[in-house]
């Protein structure tokens, strides 16, 4: 019984997160200006991180946690670098 509940919830959660990723990538490809595309990318990687954690719950292995942590940190650095580029025209002055 608990397995059925868990597997159903994991499937629903993965479906919702995949929809969120699709919507974020729609905004990333369509976005009128560069800042919209950057926020689309930001939303996309946050949702990818959440998807990895749900995979970790589904398989019961902790290796997905480390992948999610790395995605979070790299995504933060990437978004800050892109914002700096929009602001100043170069990343490292």
């Amino acid at each position: 019984m608990s397995a059925v509940i868990l597997l159903t919830a994991i499937s629903i959660a993965q479906l919702l997160i995949a929809l969120a990723m699709a919507i974020a990538s729609v905004r990333m490809f369509r976005g009128p200006r560069a800042q919209d595309r950057i926020i689309g990318l930001d939303t996309l990687y946050i949702n990818a991180m959440l998807m990895l954690v749900t995979f970790g719950i589904g398989t019961g292995s902790t290796i997905y946690f480390e992948a999610a942590l790395v995605i979070g940190m790299l995504g933060f650095v990437a978004t800050v670098a892109l914002a700096k580029f929009l602001m100043r025209g170069e990343v490292i002055e």
Partner: protein
């Protein structure tokens, strides 16, 4: 040792399922708002739903699941939650300032101009820096 999914007690399964669906639904609502809101400065607010309680709900689900299935407290998901909570305002404020800078430089949209007293503050700070 991690046990297979079927050995989890019923209450733990229900708690994990509730947190999973709560978090992923918030992430989806944030993404929909991000697609539908009209201007950039409004769109900036929507994805924070996903990065605050979306991340929080799924990390809580993961913490409860691994704590119950390995019968010891597993709290390392707090790391991701804290990290995302701290970094999201930084990135979004940087992006908003970059967008404001671009809109002012191209003078499009009805973006507020820089106030005169802001400029005076900047000059005062620069004057102090030069004196020191």
């Amino acid at each position: 040792m991690i046990q297979p999914v079927s050995d989890l007690p019923l209450w733990a399964a229900m708690v994990v399922a509730a947190f999973l669906i709560f978090g992923s639904a918030l992430a989806l609502i944030g993404a929909i708002g991000f697609l539908r809101l009209p201007t950039f400065y409004e769109r900036l607010h929507a994805p924070t739903l996903g990065t605050s309680w979306g991340v929080g709900g799924i990390m809580l689900a993961s913490m409860v699941y691994f704590s119950v299935s390995s019968s010891r407290p597993v709290l390392h998901e707090i790391l991701i939650g804290l990290f995302v909570t701290v970094t999201t305002p930084i990135t979004f404020m940087l992006l908003a300032r970059a967008a404001l800078h671009r809109d002012r430089a191209e003078s499009n949209g009805n973006v507020p101009e820089k106030h005169q007293h802001d400029l005076e503050d900047v000059e005062a700070i620069q004057g102090n820096a030069e004196e020191n």
